[in-house]
């Protein structure tokens, strides 16, 4: 392919419907840049999203986009990849979609390690339903459904993924576009299931975890001595440490993908010969004769 693509090639005619200043704009912009940088073509990208403000993102990326039901983006994306492993498959959703209603699938998608990328746009709140607490909201976070303060401990999605056997775990910040593009490029290029959690502040409902708050409470792990993304114990330490939130690639290893372990044929399943194998199919009857 000699044509050079730009982020605009992944833009849709539909304007994004997020609040002005929403962190999700940064994610959208970085994703389009990453796809262009990787030389992907829109027809070979399948983009699956869940429900919530973040789920709307699939409507804004020129591709084959699937905007399904709440919490189920990962099973859909996994199957799209199994059906056609030539596609670049990306799933995206928010902290509610991925860590609450879809939490069950998250763990299993991680351990399956299909070669797809999952972007979790984390704003620590339920934006689309007007600001309730989410699985990543801080304990004590006061909302309409938690007037006495959120009683639950926040979940650390990347640490959960690490425990489940994650092979590429990264965290970005939507206010750092260049770094985010690099993370997404690395994630998409990773041969396995890649998780990119993006701190994507909700400017309307979350008055605590704001852009300013994140700037103050984050750091890039690779800027600290001893950074070793191949070391699982080290990754767990920095993920779980009290204090500032680590950004960047926090863990990466190489392990066989789902496609490999299922022994998928080189020909994508979608291209399997359905009619030329009638004789062989007919022979299956003999086992019952």
């Amino acid at each position: 392919m000699s044509v050079t693509l730009t982020p605009k090639d992944f833009a849709t005619a539909t304007p994004a419907w997020w609040c002005a200043g929403c962190g999700d704009y940064g994610v959208l912009s970085a994703l389009k840049s990453a796809l262009a940088e990787l030389g992907k073509t829109p027809e070979n990208v399948a983009f699956v999203s869940g429900i919530g403000c973040s789920g709307k993102i699939s409507g804004y990326v020129h591709s084959y986009a699937f905007h399904g039901v709440h919490g189920r983006a990962l099973p859909v994306a996994t199957a799209v990849k199994l059906a056609n492993h030539d596609l670049t498959v990306i799933a995206a959703g928010g902290d509610g979609d991925g860590y609450a209603i879809g939490a069950g699938h998250f763990m299993h998608a991680v351990r399956r390690n299909a070669n797809i990328t999952y972007i979790v746009m984390d704003n620590q709140t339920y934006g689309l339903t007007k600001g309730q607490s989410s699985p990543t909201s801080a304990t004590g976070y006061v909302t309409g459904t938690s007037p006495q303060g959120n009683p639950d401990a926040p979940i650390n999605g990347l640490a959960v993924a690490l425990a489940a056997g994650g092979s590429f775990l990264a965290r970005g910040f939507s206010a750092h576009p260049k770094k985010l593009v690099d993370l997404l490029v690395a994630a998409i290029e990773h041969d396995g299931f890649s998780v990119v959690e993006v701190m994507s502040p909700c400017v309307t409902y979350n008055k605590i975890n704001t852009f300013a708050w994140f700037k103050e409470h984050t750091y890039y792990a690779d800027e600290r001595p001893g950074y070793d993304p191949a070391n699982r114990a080290h990754a767990f330490d920095i993920m779980m440490a009290e204090g500032p939130i680590p950004l960047g690639i926090l863990y990466r290893d190489a392990r066989p993908t789902l496609e490999t372990l299922l022994h998928l044929p080189a020909t994508p399943v979608v291209a399997a010969d359905l009619t030329g194998v009638r004789g062989e199919l007919d022979n299956l009857q003999n086992a019952y004769a």
Binding site: E43, Y64, V76
Partner: protein
């Protein structure tokens, strides 16, 4: 006396091998040229609890159990106490009296008793307690007059892969069983004798295997499922065979994932399916609605069992019909098909994929435990009857901007591109959308898109499997039913006719869209209408009444005790109400 219609029941504790032996007997009876139907009645646990396996062998294909049990092979007293009252007078019992005795009150005098210390002989004479079942087979074979060569060959075939020693001891067990009968019961003939007929080119297949096989032949190359009784066989079959044909099968983490995976694979262009039972079906409901609005073809096999909730997971019921037709928020085009035999399970499953692909909507294949986990003999399947048409799938590049994934068309079906096709990029959203896939809440668009999608329910009419009218189409007695009830109802017709009552039977093969015209035509002139179904509330009857309105002449015949109908229960209902005009609900549950 030759008796080529025999129902044999193996009863014992779950995990004691009676299912394996039951399968073995089914295979032997097939070799002897009989038509087979098997029914597994087992508890929802792996070890312990009463289980029984019914094998019916007959000269005519009956697709269901007989009125009564002819032969009971009872490995314990519980099997006797649970089933001795189901026995036909003149039948016989083989009872393992190694450690128990049958008390006088259970020892019916109108059946013959063969007390054989099966476990004891297996352990002490053959040196392996495990061969008790094969020993019982030897006793049975002798009492039924089966050809010993056929029995030995079948036993050899089953145990071959376990090695020569295992084959040898099992063959010895068969012989020992026969010898025991000769020694102790030479003067006590069973009254039964099977006459061998040519086997012919026939198959012995389980309903679930037929569904999976039909799916694969129809081009299904993706299955996602979550293990659940009685649907797991479909997943296991596809896991074994789909990869050999370039396909993939995946065990999902739950049914939510299974159905969403099925949608994902189909979105990517692969013919895809899942299979489940009631509890899983409930979880899949939301995504089925998504398939409807995204116009994604999916085939969902529902192997119904007793509900609600966990219900009786290994028992049969037809109480999920409402769920398949009416579940979900919002309205979508959907199809519910129901095969009535193992053979039809193959063809209906295959056809489900063509209908799903042609009309881009969910298609359910509804079956139930009494059919999907039963084995039956059938003629060799004709794969040429299965066409794989990709219909409006658009694989050539299209012009982006001009192409509309959800274009409003006369038949409601839009050209479908799949990822990889140049120019066909679009958003497939669960939100209401325009013909090009843009999310919109515009009222005019909403009406237009609802009309477009629901129009498919009309345009698919001629592609749906037609119901079958059995018996005399002018008979005054009309019976309606579907699925596993096809067997007992059809058998009832013949026997009613022999007793002077002319009756006809409409076997539904499509339950939704409801075949109103066919039902109306079938019921024209009927004096008494019997709706036979395995549920409490009359789910099928209500569908019929949408067409007919309330009718004094309609008699519900219902059963919801977890067991399939036996023909006599249907015959009894018909004979009871064919003349008096009182309308009484006939419940034929065992008490």
């Amino acid at each position: 006396m030759v008796w080529n219609d025999v129902e044999i029941m193996f009863g014992g504790q779950a995990g004691d091998g009676s299912l394996t032996t039951g399968d073995l007997i089914a295979g032997i009876l097939k070799r002897l040229g009989l038509e087979i139907y098997t029914y597994k009645d087992f508890p929802s646990r792996i070890r312990g609890g009463h289980t029984n396996y019914v094998i019916r062998g007959s000269e005519h294909a009956n697709y269901g159990m007989a009125d009564m049990v002819d032969v009971l092979v009872a490995f314990d007293l519980e099997a006797v106490s649970a089933h001795v009252d189901e026995m036909r007078p003149g039948g016989f019992v083989i009872f393992d009296n190694s450690s128990e005795t049958v008390p006088a009150d259970l020892r019916r005098s109108d059946v013959t008793w063969y007390d054989v210390p099966l476990a004891k002989i297996a352990k002490e004479e053959l040196g392996l307690a495990l061969v008790r079942n094969t020993l019982a087979l030897g006793v049975l074979a002798k009492l039924l007059g089966m050809d010993p060569a056929v029995v030995r060959a079948a036993v050899t075939g089953v145990y071959e892969r376990k090695g020569e020693k295992v084959v040898a001891i099992n063959v010895a067990a068969v012989d020992a069983g026969g010898a025991y009968v000769e020694r102790h019961y030479a003067e006590w003939p069973s009254g039964y004798g099977l006459r061998a007929r040519p086997d012919g080119d026939r198959l012995l297949m389980m309903g679930n295997d037929a569904i999976a096989y039909g799916s694969l032949v129809a081009g299904c190359r993706f299955m996602a499922g979550y293990p659940i009784t009685p649907a797991t066989d479909v997943l296991e079959w596809m896991a074994k065979y789909a990869p050999r044909f370039g396909g993939v099968t995946i065990q999902a983490e739950d049914e939510l994932a299974a159905i969403n995976m099925t949608l994902g694979a189909s979105f990517a262009g692969v013919r895809a399916m899942t299979a489940t039972s009631g509890p899983g079906q409930a979880l899949m409901t939301e995504a089925i609605g998504l398939a409807g609005v995204l116009e994604i073809p999916v085939v969902v096999v529902e192997c119904a069992r007793t509900g609600p909730s966990t219900g009786m997971p290994t028992k049969t019921e037809q109480s999920n019909l409402n769920h398949l037709i009416f579940s979900g928020h919002g309205e979508i085009p959907r199809v519910v098909l129901a095969p009535g035999t193992v053979e039809d399970s193959f063809y209906i499953a295959a056809q489900a994929f063509d209908i799903a692909e042609k009309y881009q909507c969910p298609v359910f294949v509804l079956t139930e435990q009494a059919l999907c986990q039963s084995k039956a003999t059938l003629p060799r399947l004709d794969l040429d009857r299965v066409k794989v048409e990709r219909e409006k799938m658009q694989l050539e590049p299209v012009e982006f901007g001009a192409y509309q994934r959800f274009a409003d068309t006369p038949d409601g079906v839009s050209p479908r591109t799949i990822p990889g096709v140049e120019g066909g990029m679009h958003l497939a959203p669960g939100s209401e959308h325009s013909p090009s896939g843009v999310i919109t809440e515009n009222s005019k668009n909403r009406t237009r898109m609802m009309d477009k999608r629901m129009r498919k329910m009309e345009s698919m009419h001629d592609d749906l499997p037609r119901g079958i009218v059995h018996g005399d189409p002018n008979a005054p007695i009309a019976i309606l039913g579907y699925g596993s009830n096809r067997g007992p109802i059809a058998e009832s017709l013949d026997r009613l006719a022999a007793r002077g009552t002319a009756a006809k039977f409409f076997e539904f093969r499509t339950l939704w869209p409801f075949p109103e015209d066919d039902v109306r035509a079938f019921l024209a002139g009927a004096e008494h209408i019997f709706v036979v179904e395995n549920n409490y509330s009359g789910q099928l009857e209500r569908l019929i009444r949408y067409v007919t309105g309330p009718l004094e002449s309609m008699h519900p015949v219902r059963k919801y005790d977890g067991k399939p109908f036996r023909p006599i229960e249907i015959i009894g209902a018909v004979e009871r109400f064919a003349s008096p005009d009182e309308r009484v609900l006939v419940r034929v549950n065992r008490t």
